[in-house]
């Protein structure tokens, strides 16, 4: 569990991006597709290293069965793409959204797809764009599938991103004291992380860079998806639950801990321990060949055995990569096997109104030998009880 892959901060080489495209084109052949169209900016970034923001002017990557993809792009973004993309690309520009008859994005887009094509599209493609797609369209998430297993380069980028959130989490634990408001914790953690990102990657792309550190104090921690305001105050005791996540020049990870300020209330001890036990069970089971649905089931069973079966609000984990939330899912109903090179969170949680929330989350790499957390922070109740 000790040797981590080396961190990488350099942009991807042409070979890395060519290998990603080759996998997509191979899957297209297997599925009998002549063309694949990507709208999702995450997928476009994965294949090109160019990041766009979604707005009314569509960006569409039209991928042929072999050869260079064509990016359908608004005229005023072309040089932006050229400045960032690191793979061969052809361009088809349109002037504006909307444009006079015959000069709209869909006129330009339609001309890129040979008539009679069998065209694959993402399930995330807006139906308004899908309706303008010529040929025989079929919804199939090929690029998400290719993204599931990471290359050595990607792992290096995520290892670096984890160094950033490790730093952010240290700032959170340093700053979080009774009476301190959320805004102060957020500012300290996010500035530290952003500073580190810019120091390590001076040309980091801000469209795909963000860093957030926050804490759910005990009054909220039983409710993991409620969003604290900047004025939310920290409390004596706990459980406080930290959430630190970052997308570092396009690579997303997270680190979360359940911790206490000064003292551990008696009713918090057993659920904290049950959460640790469930987490240990997940680490035990998360190895190549394990079924993700079954891991989730076994982890839930461990929580249920401890008497908290009705205090579960979410699955055991989710994948990472370009984003901080993607496939594979460690969830009942997601019936596929873990593979080396997958990157997942392990974060079983227990949520008890009146007592609070209990969840640690790490960004974990699946290797041939089992799994290795790439994030680092204290784990035990003793280490997570901060003396005041």
């Amino acid at each position: 569990m000790s040797e981590l892959p080396a961190p990488i901060t350099a942009p991807p080489g042409a070979d890395e991006l060519a290998a990603r495209l080759a996998k997509v084109q191979c899957a297209m052949r297997e599925q009998g597709l002549d063309t694949y169209v990507s709208f999702d900016p995450v997928n476009i970034y994965y294949l090109t290293h160019f990041a766009n923001q979604v707005h009314e002017r569509p960006f569409l990557l039209v991928i042929p069965g072999e050869g260079v993809p064509t990016l359908v792009v608004p005229l005023l973004e072309k040089s932006h793409v050229e400045a960032r993309a690191r793979c061969p690309l052809d361009y088809a520009t349109y002037y504006e959204f909307p444009a006079p008859e015959g000069g709209n994005w869909h006129d330009v887009y339609r001309a890129q797809i040979p008539s009679g094509s069998r065209v694959g599209v993402e399930s995330a493609m807006p139906v308004g764009i899908c309706q303008r797609t010529p040929g025989e369209t079929r919804v199939t998430d090929i690029i998400e599938e290719v993204r599931l297993v990471k290359s050595e380069y990607e792992i290096g980028r995520n290892v670096h991103a984890c160094q950033v959130v490790n730093l952010g989490h240290e700032k959170v634990l340093e700053t979080c004291r009774p009476g301190v408001v959320e805004g102060a914790i957020y500012a300290a953690a996010s500035q530290a992380m952003l500073g580190r990102i810019l120091a390590d990657i001076p040309h980091a792309n801000i469209i795909v860079s963000r860093a957030v550190g926050a804490v759910w104090p005990p009054a909220l921690s039983h409710d993991p998806h409620i969003v604290p305001t900047f004025g939310t105050a920290m409390e004596h005791g706990g459980p406080h639950v930290s959430i630190v996540f970052a997308q570092v020049d396009g690579y997303g990870v997270e680190l979360e801990r359940t911790f206490f300020l000064g003292a551990v209330p008696e009713p918090a001890k057993a659920p904290f321990d049950a959460m640790l036990a469930a987490r240990a069970r997940a680490y035990e089971l998360a190895r190549p060949g394990a079924n993700l649905s079954e891991i989730d089931r076994a982890v839930r069973a461990r929580i249920t055995d401890r008497g908290y079966g009705d205090r579960i609000l979410h699955r055991t984990g989710h994948g990472f990569g370009i984003t901080g939330h993607e496939a594979p899912y460690v969830a009942e109903g997601y019936d596929r096997e873990l593979e080396p090179g997958m990157l997942i969170s392990i974060e079983p949680g227990i949520y008890i109104p009146g007592i609070g929330g209990f969840r640690h989350s790490d960004t974990v790499l699946v290797t041939d030998a089992g799994c290795v957390p790439l994030t680092r922070a204290p784990e035990t109740l003793a280490d997570l009880t901060i003396p005041l």
Copy 2:
């Protein structure tokens, strides 16, 4: 042009949200729809005051022909919705994404729509969700249509948001000096704006709050959609082009100026003047009843008359509301009339490689009498040449 509507920072009342829903349901009747489904978080926010982040767990607002909408929502987000929504809502929760057979989001979603329904969906709805929508679906952007004309409440919110960007723009002009890097300008402007947002709206929803201030120095300003890095340095002279935008607790606006540090290079004078002339033409024409396509054509003609017809990269403007970029568009091909209560940018631009970019942008309210800019910053070459 002097009397601005009063700023509003309070959340919407039940009557405001009821009026928005009534307009949507009225349009549904006109279009013969039994049900309308909204996926777009902007539209869900508009109707409920609840903001979700889009991820793999869908949020779907199912609107019946009359009565209360049902929000299909992941279990762990229900209390988050309850904490923020300010309208009557029914809930249909699903446990997780994915979930075991029969307990997935689409099982819960399908059960909300009576069989045989005529169902309207947004063009932004992902095709993967559209395919799971029962009944006879039709793509129709009803809520975008309703959002085009603002209520008095919305105008008050946007007036307040403009006060925030006015402050941010002052900070940009204060901070921007030769040699200063982008990161310093960004930090000064965005912190000032965020501070103001939190001072005015302590419970501002951070999911729909952001504030960005940046400057394109002369080396980049001819290229409006390239994104500077934090290390990009400002220069002597100009044209520098500022971009300040904010989404203030869910209401988006922008303010941009072309300015000079110390001196105005001779070749920049004529295009600056041409830009001002085109802008004046747009203000002249932007009144209720004017066709948006024709305004854009006339403004382009003014630029072309000055000899810069081949230096145009974008339309004259776009709408504002919940976001900083939405319908209506001041663009050739957008053939509809301006109406009182619409909120648009007026920002004709001229872009000359080797000289730079020329664009002012304001957030402008269309009134019975014409139009009123809600943003305020210097406009003339003299006022925008900053002494060093």
